[in-house]
Amino acid sequence: MTTLEFSLFLFVTSIAAGLLGALSGLGGGVVIVPLLTLIFRVDIHYAIGASLVSVIATSSGAAAAYVREGFSNIRVGMFLEIATTLGALVGAWLTTRVPTHAIGIVFGVVLLYSAFTALKQHHDVITQRPDPLALRLRLLGSLPISPTAHQDYVAQRVPAGFGLMTLAGTLSGLLGIGSGAVKVIAMDQAMRLPFKVSTTTSNFMIGVTAAASAGLYLRSGYLAPALAMPVMLGVLLGSLIGSRLLVRIHVRTLKIVFALVIVALGVEMIVNSLQGKL
């Protein structure tokens, strides 16, 4: 296979990955590493580098859309980003130390877990209980729920949220993913923020977290330009198409279908890792 053929092959597969990521709501990053390692036999470190780059691309590319909605809470995001970026440094360091098959197993588990949480139904548990730490750090806001009504909220259990965010960052650094699922859980379940605030704020945070580990990857030589090129361009295109399509398609059925694909990939990752084939 020539370089041109290989690059085109990568490009088309990455479009599919970006599409899958956007339509399932799980992000392109989760699928890139499994696809590259399982199908293209790329070493996991190169795959993680390419994936991380794609995560930043889709995060920054899509940001304008989330910004327009006006639901994200910048202060909550910025405060928690201390946790995620520190976690990302730890994760990126770990990835140079941990054996490939262990990374593969962790990745498979994260995939299975992400698919599971993407399908779970959701109910907001909003509280205005004046959590002292949250008030001190001004982790609160107001969510418009109709043209005339607002829902005030105050973050809860800040240390737990911070801890979970550190984990999210570590996973992001270790696996080259956005960890959107963990971030949303930290804000939604632990900190009791409204779901819309959690998802939009998570989107805002994903790029910054990825940038923290990307710097380390780049300097450690994990970013192969000729590999990252078709992957980044493909995922970007795929996620742009995917977000356009989202408006017209029945989301629920799609999510189930794609969650199944992701479960399959997760199982493959684990099996391949255990067999030492990764």
């Binding site: 020539t2 690059s7 107001s142 790029g207 910054v208 710097g215 330009p225």
Partner: protein
């Protein structure tokens, strides 16, 4: 205060989109040049060996861009891409300064410091 937040976020959105488009343009340009120059069998990525210094240091990349090395042009695009979230944090610091929110100027600066450490100072 909510109004200032929205305004800053709108500019942040514009900046991010522009950054991504610029990065994509650089990556695409480098990619086309790269594919134009390569005629042999495809590189083997099955075994990891760290990329050479011309791709992992800023000076290496810039030197490469000056001589139109395709992979260095791609790397420059990737650097621009990585810079977009960093620029976002900087814009938030500016926004918090305008709002007189010293606590969050401090918090955002910590985040920026961590990002800059990872990009320039580590190891």
């Amino acid at each position: 205060m909510k109004w200032t937040d929205q305004r800053i976020e709108t500019w942040v959105g514009v900046m991010l989109r522009t950054g991504v488009m610029l990065a994509a343009a650089l990556v695409l340009t480098g990619g086309i040049l790269y594919l134009g120059h390569s005629h042999g069998p495809r590189p083997d990525y099955a075994r990891f060996q760290a990329e050479p210094a011309q791709f992992t240091t800023l000076s290496g990349v810039l030197h490469g861009v000056a001589i139109l090395n395709p992979e260095c042009i791609i790397m420059l695009g990737l650097l621009v891409l990585i810079a977009t979230p960093v620029a976002r944090v900087v814009m938030c610091i500016v926004g918090f300064l305008f709002e007189g929110d010293r606590l969050y100027v401090a918090i955002s600066t910590i985040v920026l410091a961590i990002l800059l450490y990872s990009l320039f100072l580590h190891r």
